[in-house]
């Protein structure tokens, strides 16, 4: 009896044999069936990655700022100007301190809520400006006045003690 090719492609060949062929030439060939299956696997992997983000977000929530942090002396920032500072925590977050008027201070996160560009206070406009896409925030409340930013800037509470400027978590404003 003549030797019969196990992968003869005949009508009686079960379909699983096409997926696991004996011949190396056929095994390395990526057909449309394999491509479609690969796409489905990739789709599953993307869903799992998205799940990992949710798990990370649930497991490691962002901690609120603890305690008061000394920034500078009151005399260091003139009225109408701003000072950029960082606070070391689980990660370094840049903030801006704005001296709006005499005895009126504000502190906001410097990252724009649109695409995290660094915002700056424009004294001539009396607005906080994001130079990347011309988003404007209120220097009083951090609310969006104009442009693409979807949310207000996160705000810190400023405390003045003996001519020294401290910031602490703004417990009322940053609650979602």
């Amino acid at each position: 009896m003549a030797h019969k090719d196990p992968y003869d492609g005949g009508e009686n060949t079960p379909s699983w044999k096409s997926d696991f062929p004996f011949q190396a030439k056929k095994a390395t060939h990526v057909g449309r069936r394999e491509f479609a299956k690969f796409l489905a696997l990739f789709s599953g992997a993307l869903a799992l990655t998205n799940g990992a983000i949710v798990i990370k977000s649930l497991t490691f929530p962002t901690k609120p700022l603890e305690g008061e942090h000394f920034i500078c002396n009151e005399s260091d920032v003139a009225v109408g100007s701003m000072l950029q500072f960082d606070i070391q925590g689980s990660k370094v977050i840049p903030y801006i301190l704005i001296h709006l008027k005499a005895n009126e201070w504000r502190a906001f996160e410097q990252k724009c809520t649109h695409l995290t560009c660094a915002v700056r206070f424009r004294e001539d406009l009396q607005k906080i400006e994001c130079p990347c896409h011309h988003g404007f925030f209120s220097p009083d409340t951090g609310e969006v006045l104009q442009g693409p930013p979807p949310r207000p800037l996160p705000q810190l509470e400023v405390v003045i003690k003996d001519g020294k400027v401290f910031v602490k978590e703004n417990e009322q404003k940053n609650k979602v």
Binding site: G9, G10, A36, S43, N50, G51, I53
Partner: protein
């Protein structure tokens, strides 16, 4: 002997091609939407937004389920006639 399947295949010789193309196009569409969701969930500006992450995860999971479900309709490989 001719049966229903054989006569159908003879009447519509491009059927396998059309099905295959349709399924692959749908799969590419699903994967593209999932990449869009993932990009949004990874966006720095949205990193603290749990609800967005959760919504995109559910959407992505449904699309992945659809991707696997649609594989049921992959045409069988062509078999050579003896």
């Amino acid at each position: 002997m001719s049966d229903f399947r054989t006569s159908q295949n003879e009447a519509h010789p491009n059927k396998t091609n059309s099905l295959m193309t349709g399924i692959i196009v749908l799969l590419i569409l699903f994967v593209s939407i999932q990449i869009w969701f993932l990009f949004g969930a990874l966006n720095n500006a949205l990193q603290d937004n749990l609800y967005f992450a959760l919504t995109t995860f559910i959407g992505s999971l449904l699309l992945a389920a659809a991707s696997f479900w649609i594989l049921r309709y992959l045409p069988d490989p062509l078999k050579n006639k003896k």
